[in-house]
């Protein structure tokens, strides 16, 4: 910028350019300064821990059949809380962008940072970091609280067991991926209610559609449906008809990337 083109000499710095770092700082400021972010995270953590205590504290291991004992997985059962609370972080992801569209703040955002794919990437990075931290802390807390609540003679899980640490880490990462999928859906649909419906449909209703179908179709489908893939991530004992944990995790990451890429594509093409 020079005086000839604008007729005004800006006093500030003119070298460099806004970019991922500055936009991520804006997005962190935005996420941090609305109450709903922290109330959602608090309810998420409370649900994770209390449902772990509920599930394992009421486990009646002595009454289980031999088959029930053989398949009893004290690690995976500590993550009952993920079933409802994955939606909380998913909604956080949706709200991170749909509230900007409903209020008109998206125009202020895009005026400050016109490269929209960069804005979405910065949003995803900040949201991903916050939800991953919330997910991991809650997963480790739920795991410990659940094992503490589990009564003898039931076998307890410890982090030293093969696969247990992986189960806890992936249990914490899973809701962060749902949040990123929520952000992508929010960028595509733009309306809070519509985007939340789409997210609920994807997570909870899609598996129901497969319920009346033949077992062979169901067994294939559950390898690829997000809420059912969760069972593979958190299991220490291998689950039948599931991809193993890391490929399942890789596939979920791919889903999140596809949702965000579709969101970026839509943001670029539609008027703000």
């Amino acid at each position: 910028m020079n005086t000839a083109t604008l007729g005004y000499q800006a006093a500030g710095r003119t070298r460099g350019r806004y970019g991922f770092r500055t936009v991520a700082r804006m997005e962190w400021q935005k996420l941090r300064t609305v109450r709903s972010t922290w109330s959602i995270v608090a309810v998420f953590a409370a649900a994770m821990i209390s449902l772990a205590v509920l599930a394992l504290g009421h486990e009646n291991y002595a009454q289980l059949s031999a088959a029930g004992r053989a398949s009893f997985d004290p690690a995976s059962n500590a993550f009952l809380g993920l079933v409802p609370s994955q939606l909380l972080l998913g909604v956080l992801g949706v709200l991170a962008i749909t509230t900007e569209f409903s209020s008109g703040a998206i125009r202020a955002t895009f005026a400050a940072a016109p490269r929209r794919r960069l804005v979405l990437a910065a949003k995803a990075a900040v949201l991903g970091a916050v939800t991953l931290a919330a997910g991991e802390i809650s997963a480790f807390a739920a795991f410990s609280a659940g094992q503490a609540a589990l009564k003898a003679p039931a076998p307890h899980a410890t982090l030293g067991q093969p696969g247990a640490l992986r189960a806890v880490v992936l249990a914490g990462a899973y809701p962060a991926l749902i949040a990123l999928i929520g952000l992508g859906i929010g960028a595509i649909i733009r309306h809070t209610a519509g985007a939340i419906c789409a997210l609920v449909g994807l997570v909870f209703l899609l598996p129901l559609l497969f319920a009346p179908l033949s077992p062979s179709i169901q067994n294939t489908a559950q390898k690829f449906l997000p809420d059912l893939m969760r069972n593979s991530l958190t299991a220490v004992r291998p689950v039948a008809h599931m991809l193993s944990p890391w490929p399942t995790f890789g596939l979920l990451c791919a889903y999140a990337l596809v949702a965000l890429a579709a969101g970026a594509w839509t943001l670029d093409r539609r008027d703000a």
Binding site: L6, G7, Y18, R25, S103, G104, R107, T109, A111, P114
Partner: protein, 239 residues
């Protein structure tokens, strides 16, 4: 300097802006006038790169908006008074915007003070009246101390003191050599603030003129304006 060249915008099949070209020069306040639905806001959104023109282009200091290196330091805009998250405080809203363009926190305090909302800075912006929201929007526009300002109906909702304040502010910004484009549907308001005028109706340019030239055309400035926009008004009531 803002240059609009052959801007065209359709909403579905409705033509909102029709081959619109004009220049906005630095050093004066330029009024952007037209009846309701004339395409003023759409044109401003196209200049800001928010809406994509179906044809033509808009340039700011020779660059399209998307190529600006520090957008908020080069262009400040008030497009929509309520363009903030209602749950965020005024200070948090401005601090977030400032961060995106590496603008210091000190500047946030300066614009809060200069727009007169520092006492309300820690209130959730959703509780603001329209006038307070306008002030917050103007604070955001001034944040980067930009050389170009675009303000869409900035006097809406302001009290008389606020209206006088914004007139003085816009004139002094222009006197510093900045480019200032202010839209309004009130010719009388523009007479107090603007020197240059861009008048549009039904998306077309009706005149690129000055307040002095326009008032010389008719018995009154208002009369001349109605003459100009006659036949280019979409929404009119009957008497």
């Amino acid at each position: 300097m803002i240059e609009a060249r052959g801007l065209v915008k359709y909403y579905r099949s409705m033509l909102a802006v029709d081959h619109l070209s004009f220049d906005v020069r630095p050093g004066t306040v330029t009024g952007f006038l037209g009846p309701n639905g004339a395409g003023k806001s759409t044109t401003m959104r196209m200049i800001m790169g928010l809406d994509r023109p179906d044809a033509g282009q808009a340039r700011i200091g020779g660059k399209s908006y998307g190529d600006l290196r520090w957008p908020l330091r080069e262009v400040g805009a008030l497009l929509d008074a309520k363009a903030f998250h209602p749950g965020r405080t005024a200070r948090a809203h401005l601090t977030a915007l400032a961060a995106s363009n590496a603008i210091g926190r000190q500047r946030v305090e300066e614009v809060l003070a200069s727009t007169g909302i520092e006492k309300a800075a820690d209130r959730r912006a959703g509780t603001f009246s329209l006038g307070m929201s306008q002030r917050l929007g103007i604070a955001a526009a001034l944040l980067g101390d930009p050389g170009v300002l675009l303000l869409d109906e900035p006097v809406n909702g302001l009290d008389p003191e606020g209206i006088r304040w914004i007139r003085t502010l816009l004139r002094s910004l222009a006197a510093q050599g900045r480019t200032v484009l202010v839209s309004s549907h009130l010719i009388s308001e523009m007479a107090h603030t603007a020197d240059a005028l861009v008048v549009i109706g039904q998306g077309r340019l009706l005149a690129q003129t000055t307040v002095a030239q326009l008032s010389a055309r008719g018995t009154s400035l208002e009369g001349a304006f109605f003459q100009l926009t006659e036949g280019a008004t979409d929404y009119s009531g009957r008497l």
